[in-house]
């Protein structure tokens, strides 16, 4: 299935865009998606870490993505 991935901060710089379309298999987990993103965009390897938020919340790595989920890459935060 095709999902939209939104990116902020350094993740947007790595994508070269604030959102991309990405193709994943049904049932793909957050952990798997992170691997696939890193394969397609090796720039993510240089980050300290990154998370993926689903529907505006942090989710466990084993969460299986659904087609209507709002998927956002959260690189290391630095507010304050």
């Amino acid at each position: 299935m095709n999902i939209k991935i939104v990116a902020f901060g350094i993740a947007r710089d790595i994508f070269g865009d604030s959102e991309i379309n990405f193709n994943i298999e049904k049932g793909t987990t957050i952990a798997e998606l992170k691997e696939q993103i890193t394969m397609s965009y090796p720039g993510f390897k240089k980050l300290v870490s990154f998370s993926i938020a689903v529907n505006q919340s942090y989710v466990p790595e084993e969460y299986a993505i659904e087609s209507n989920d709002e998927i956002v890459i959260i690189p290391p935060v630095s507010g304050g």
Binding site: A53, I74, G79, G80
Partner: protein, 138 residues
């Protein structure tokens, strides 16, 4: 009561202080985060903040709710600014009122420490010779 705001205009610490005033309060602690002019000896020109706003507001609210529980805080106000900020400008204001002062100090420190770990807000430091997303790379 909780007051959370993300703004792209200048913050006024008095807005937060006024919100947390309370008859039952023995003290109000306020943290004001400002833009420093240097990082590791390098001149900083400005900071550029951005947020994933709906989630940032949720995460800030979570911090405030936790403070209410753990420190019996009466009122909490957290305002964060986004956009381009110059040296000395205010990036964040946190105000907490509690019945006794010790809890106010602790809660305020907990709020800024947790904000820096969990809230989806990012800043880019702009130097004379380039720019870096803070904390993103080793």
């Amino acid at each position: 009561m909780i007051d959370i705001k993300i703004k792209n205009t200048a913050l006024d610490a008095n807005d937060c202080i006024t919100f947390v005033e309370d008859k039952a309060a023995g003290g109000i602690a306020v943290f004001i985060g400002t833009v420093r002019n240097a990082t590791k000896g390098k001149n900083v020109q400005r900071l550029e903040f951005e947020s994933y706003e709906p989630m940032a507001i949720k995460e800030l609210r979570k911090i405030a709710e936790e403070i209410q529980q753990r420190w019996s805080a009466l009122k909490i106000s957290i305002h964060h600014r986004i956009g381009n900020l110059n040296i000395k400008e205010v990036a964040v204001v946190i105000a907490v009122s509690t019945p006794h002062r010790k809890a106010a100090f602790e809660a305020c420190e907990y709020a800024i420490d947790t904000l820096k770990k969990t809230v989806p807000i990012w800043k880019k430091e702009v130097f004379d010779d380039g720019a870096v997303w803070v904390s993103a790379t080793p």
